[in-house]
């Protein structure tokens, strides 16, 4: 195909009615990427669409891809169906929202606070060892520490409380690593010294000078923490006992376990919609910031 082979740098300039118009042909990559991109999002679009389908549309086979007469019935069904799970779905939702927001805000604060001296206090004794340990912690599967974590949580008397879901997640090595890399690259030492000469104390420097300069980094941390915490089913499964402390991800597992039947598909999709919507919205709002930050997240070996 001659169209595809044409180098992108030399766009053809056709002449129409005596005026030169520029036609930008899509590059060859699009022919490969667009179908794959569609394939990647198709299941998500399908879940969203199914969540709003009325029962008669769920029963049609083969099922129509898009919903024709959207309804909120499935969400109502979901609320009824989860009555069988002993607590209303809204309770799972509240738990997820509360735990995720608290965790993420604390993660950002704690990781940034620790990253600041590691990045900017040159010559701080022990800094290199600490950073090496954090890189090491990135290198093994998080499940390794789950059993002793369980014992620690138990010893601290936090089993079956919100604390058990929030506190262990605060040791977020990846978050610290990212904040440190970003501070290394994007906060000028001169800026900090200037603030210091103006009489600012360390907290003021951290909060008023460093943090505003690394806004993309903590935005990213916010997103990643949110996605991870929101989708996490391991902690609520292990650290909590009563249904009233479980989160949406756990309710989701109970809903999807068992045979996949059309009758439950509506309620399941509604739950899946409620579970995925927040993460996608959070990501959409912050995507540009994420890519800006990720440039700094390599490991220099």
């Amino acid at each position: 195909m001659a169209v595809l082979a044409r180098p992108r740098s030399v766009p053809r300039v056709p002449v129409l009615f005596g005026r030169r118009i520029r036609i930008q042909w899509p590059s060859a990559q699009y022919f490969l990427l667009v179908p794959l991109a569609v394939f990647a999002v198709l299941p998500i679009v399908y879940v969203i669409s199914t969540a709003f389908k009325p029962l008669e549309e769920l029963l049609i086979f083969p099922p129509p891809f898009f919903v024709r007469r959207p309804t909120m019935d499935n969400f109502q069904d979901l609320l009824l169906a989860t009555n069988a799970l002993a607590v209303p779905f809204s309770r799972y939702l509240f738990n997820s929202v509360f735990v995720t927001l608290t965790t993420v805000l604390l993660q950002v604060l704690i990781c940034s606070m620790c990253a600041y001296p590691l990045s900017k206090a040159r010559g701080l004794p022990g800094a290199n060892i600490v950073f090496a340990m954090i890189i090491a912690a990135l290198m093994f599967a998080p499940q390794v520490t789950r059993i002793p974590q369980y014992l620690v949580v138990q010893k601290l008397g936090m089993i079956d409380t919100y604390w058990a879901l929030i506190v262990p997640a605060l040791a977020y090595s990846y978050g610290l690593f990212m904040m440190k890399q970003f501070m290394d690259n994007s906060v000028d030492m001169a800026l900090i010294e200037a603030a210091r000469i103006d009489g600012a104390n360390e907290w003021t420097i951290f909060w008023r000078v460093v943090m505003p300069n690394v806004a993309p980094a903590w935005n990213t941390l916010l997103i990643f923490g949110f996605i991870q915490q929101w989708n996490d089913s391991f902690s609520p499964l292990v650290f909590t006992r009563s249904e009233a402390m479980k989160t949406v991800s756990v309710a989701m597992i109970s809903l999807t376990n068992g045979p996949a039947t059309v009758a439950r598909l509506g309620a399941q999709s509604a739950a899946a919609f409620l579970m995925t919507a927040p993460t996608i919205i959070v990501f959409l709002l912050r995507q540009a910031k994420v890519i800006q930050t990720m440039a700094h997240s390599g490991i220099k070996a």
Binding site: P43, T145, N231, M252, M294, G298, A301
Partner: protein, 318 residues
């Protein structure tokens, strides 16, 4: 400003009025505030990461069922695990198959896509499309995948295969031993572009464009040479990070496997190392034995991590 010193001045390097201090208090006076900044994270890190790793190593040499105190039994757990536990061998085989295939494939695909997308105008939209599956999480999406691979004739894949006449009766994708792992791998690859993709995409933007010009002068003629000699070497930190993440993700496969095939899966065909750990730790409460599994997992991922550092460490940094 000529008066500003070139070297870093710590907060209180200027001698304080009471200059005569013990070395310890002088040390604290100079660095203390920074340690206070680090204290909250380091406390969490010590309590929930460092201590647990050490405790796991200790517990792996004991019999421990949570109710009684741990009892030292030496290497018994390790012997049992490798010599008599057939299910663990299955779990290792499954996890290795999974990691060996999805790790490199996922790594390559996410780099390839990032590389293709990077120069395009529609970069943001395409990046979102490719990244979306890893945002939404495997559990929520297992709703769709279970319907797609459902074992009756209403499963989409079965229905399609029946219609085109490839098969005569529905195939049990999620309960036949032969198809469970491939299905798990497929779904994981679909949602597995993950962090690596974004890191690569961002890394590509940081490659110094002068290098490409210089490369052209030096006789680089096709895009493949450009990638091999310029792009890849400039992205070593991102590649290292992406590969470490891919290894960790590959060896900790659990959620997708459980959501699709259940725990325990039919004939343990979807059983992974982490499934085994979870099974013994939180269903049977044999913590000592589960800790042994954890230690094996730790050694494995950590060893591979060191290896990757070797591969991507740049001795010839410009």
């Amino acid at each position: 400003m000529a008066t500003r010193p070139e070297v870093f001045v710590p907060a209180r390097a200027i001698p304080a009025p009471h200059a005569r201090r013990s070395p310890l208090s002088a040390f604290w006076y100079r660095w203390g505030v920074y340690y206070l900044f680090m204290a909250p994270f380091m406390t969490m890190f010590t309590v929930f990461i460092i201590a647990p790793v050490l405790v796991a190593i200790y517990l792996s040499f004991t019999y421990f069922n949570v109710l009684e105190a741990p009892r030292w039994i030496g290497w018994s757990n390790y012997k049992l695990l490798f010599l008599e536990d057939d299910v663990f061998i299955t779990a290792i085989a499954n996890t290795l198959t999974f990691a060996v295939i999805t790790g490199p494939v996922g790594f390559f695909i996410s780099f390839f896509f990032a590389w293709l997308i990077n120069p395009l105008k529609a970069k943001t939209v395409l990046a979102l499309c490719f990244y979306a599956p890893s945002i939404v999480g495997g559990i929520a999406m297992s709703v769709v995948w279970k319907i797609v691979f459902s074992g009756d004739r209403y499963g989409y894949l079965n229905n399609y295969l029946l219609n085109i006449g490839a098969i005569d009766e529905p195939y049990q994708f999620l309960s036949e031993q032969a198809s469970i792992m491939p299905v798990i791998m497929f779904v994981s690859l679909w949602m597995g572009m993950g962090t690596g993709f974004l890191v690569f995409l961002a890394g590509l933007q940081t490659v110094n464009t002068d290098l490409y010009e210089a490369g052209k002068v030096d006789g680089i003629s096709n895009p493949l040479q450009e990638v091999w000699y310029i792009t890849l070497p400039s992205m070593k930190p991102q590649l290292l990070f992406g590969s470490v993440m891919a290894v960790v993700a590959g060896f900790s496969v659990f959620e997708v496997a459980t959501a699709l095939a259940g725990l325990p899966s039919p004939l343990y065909a979807g059983h992974t190392i982490v499934s085994h750990l979870y099974d013994y730790a939180f269903i049977r409460f044999e913590m000592g034995y589960a800790a042994t599994v954890a230690v094996i997992l730790f050694l494995w991922t950590f060893g591979l991590g060191r290896l990757l550092f070797r591969i991507f460490s740049s001795k010839n940094e410009y």
